[in-house]
Symmetry: C2
Subunit: 191 residues, 2 copies
Amino acid sequence: MQALKDRIAAEGQNLGSGILKIDSILNHQIDPKLMFEMGEAMAAVFRGMNVQRILTAEISGICPALTAGYALNVPVVYARKLKPITMAGPVYLETAPSHTKGAQVNLLVAAEFLHPHENVLIVDDFLASGKTLAALARMVRSARANLVGAGVVVEKSFESGRTYMQQQGFDIPIHSLVTITSMDDGKIVMA
Amino acid sequence: MQALKDRIAAEGQNLGSGILKIDSILNHQIDPKLMFEMGEAMAAVFRGMNVQRILTAEISGICPALTAGYALNVPVVYARKLKPITMAGPVYLETAPSHTKGAQVNLLVAAEFLHPHENVLIVDDFLASGKTLAALARMVRSARANLVGAGVVVEKSFESGRTYMQQQGFDIPIHSLVTITSMDDGKIVMA
């Protein structure tokens, strides 16, 4: 997606250790118009697949999931990291390591919002090691829903998340709007 | 906003102690179409006020802020509760009590995303005690920006957040899409 590539080239910062700072676009400040274009671009890829629900993880996955959900006209559910007191009843619980916070984080989805046999598309901000995507995919499997694919805003292909997903048995189409092939030497190299 | 009132009447649950569960609409599952209508309805109120930026707080404020920002075509910034490692440089820091999590939470906005003299609209999911709204308003004041108003999805008027905002010196227009006037006796009474 050229508009997003241009913005990352202009505003992205390589903080080292594979950490990409794009706070001005995705994680802290949001350009709503660009976010809508992202959602539309993601929806365009999966439109023929009868997606019935989008699953994402808070926090940074919420905006691309909302805009993709708007374009596909399907409900969105975002996994919570902390259980709010309004969450009652059974939950699907998975854990994944946080790339930017260090520790393991919980991902919780109320069982009432993931239904058996539904076609679920996972949307997230980053695909790096694939561990968050795999945790979301395990939730879909636990709910006996059908995982039809995953759409991510930025893929860091050098962290081999696609391979990890396959190794975990999730052989699904994955679409990334922008692929970063290297962050060596302080650079941000996009495919 | 009638569509939202209807949904709250159908799906909202009064959990007691003033806690409203509307996870199926706002805090966990999202109906993107309804969320867009909410953003549009909020934007319609503030359209003449030359809004230049929207400020909200993660997590549940993000979706209404994004859709209002889309309708007004202005950038959105959401206050973070934990400092991500991508956040460098000076920040505005305020604290507010969390209604649904108990403890005090930090609200952090990188100084680079709040500019002096900018016209800022605050958007949030709930107006209850007004403490989160006031914390966001203090940030706007610290940044020497102009606070033009606040838009919230659901106001619990019996918790007197408007009065609190005035007592704190924030005499701004506040618009709520739905006002709940009482949650006594397990009911949800809307204006």
